[in-house]
Symmetry: C2
C-alpha cells in the first residue's frame, strides 16, 4: 500500500494503517475530469496511486491559477474533510488518466471515533502540513512586498 | 478564566479546561518587551489577559512587517508549541504593559498524553485556525496577482 505514505498517516502503527486501508477504495478517473470544486462540501479524501492531478483556484470568473501538480504516489488532496467547516479549499482535476484511492469522510470519522490516538496523530500531521503551506505562502507575499517597496523607492 | 476562550480550547469539557488552568501561570510583561523571536525553539504558549501584543515578521534585516495586533482577552500566540518542528513562526512583542498567561510546552504535552481526546480537540482547533490563516494569506496573494495582471495589460 505505497499510497499510505501520505503525510497524514506518518507515525501510525501497522494496525492503524490497516484500518485506513480497510476503508479505502481504488477508483479510475479520466484526464480532464473534475474531482471536486473549491468551496463545495468536502466528503472524500483522495490519494494518488497512478497519474497526475492538478490543484487550482479561480481568480474572479476568468482566470484559473494553478497551485500545484501532484505526481507522486501517496500525494493526498481533499484533506479538508478533516478540518471544519469541511469545504474543499481548492479545485482538483485529473491532468491525465489517473488511479486514485478514495476515502469517505464518514468512514474516516468512524475509524477516528474508535481510536483517538489515530485521530490525534492525523490532526497533528494535518497541522504540520498547513503550517508549512502557510509559511510558504507568507514567503511569496514577502517577495511581492519587497518588489512593491523597491518600486516605491525606485 | 476568560482567557480560556482561546480558539485552541473550543469544545473542551469543564474538567479538561480545569486541567489546562492547572498548568497556566500569570506573568507581567513590559511595553516593548520581546516575548519570542521568529525561528527560535517554541517552548511556551501565551494567552492575553490584559494589554496589547504585536506579532511581526522580518523582511530581510531592515524591515519589520506587522502581521497582527492582539487586544482581545484569550487571544493566543506561540501556538507552534503544538506543531512540529516546534519553532516560533513569527516574533512577538508587547505593545503596552501586559498581563499574560503562560503555558509550558512540556506541561501541555503531559496533559495531552493523559487525555487523548483533549489532544485531538486541540489539534483539530489548531488545524482549523491554520486553514483560515492560509485562506486569508492566499486571498492576499490573489490581490497581488490581480494587480500584476492589470499592470501587464495596462
Amino acid at each position: 500500500m505505497p499510497w499510505l505514505t501520505c503525510y497524514l498517516f506518518k507515525g501510525l502503527s501497522k494496525s492503524q494503517l490497516q484500518r485506513i486501508a480497510n476503508i479505502s477504495m481504488e477508483k479510475q478517473f479520466q484526464k480532464g475530469q473534475l474531482l471536486f470544486h473549491e468551496g463545495r462540501k468536502a466528503d472524500q479524501l483522495f490519494l494518488l496511486k497512478e497519474g497526475k492531478v492538478e490543484l487550482l483556484t479561480k481568480i474572479g470568473e476568468a482566470i484559473e491559477l494553478p497551485i500545484d501538480i501532484l505526481r507522486s504516489k501517496g500525494s493526498c488532496f481533499g484533506t479538508t474533510i478533516l478540518v471544519a467547516p469541511y469545504l474543499y479549499s481548492l479545485s482538483s482535476r485529473c491532468a491525465e488518466d489517473s488511479s486514485l484511492i478514495v476515502i469517505k469522510k464518514t468512514d474516516l470519522e468512524q475509524v477516528i471515533s474508535q481510536d483517538c490516538e489515530l485521530g490525534f496523530i492525523m490532526m497533528s500531521n494535518m497541522s504540520q502540513h498547513l503550517l508549512e503551506r502557510l509559511k510558504e505562502t507568507r514567503e511569496e507575499l514577502k517577495i511581492h512586498f519587497r518588489t512593491f517597496v523597491k518600486s516605491v523607492h525606485a
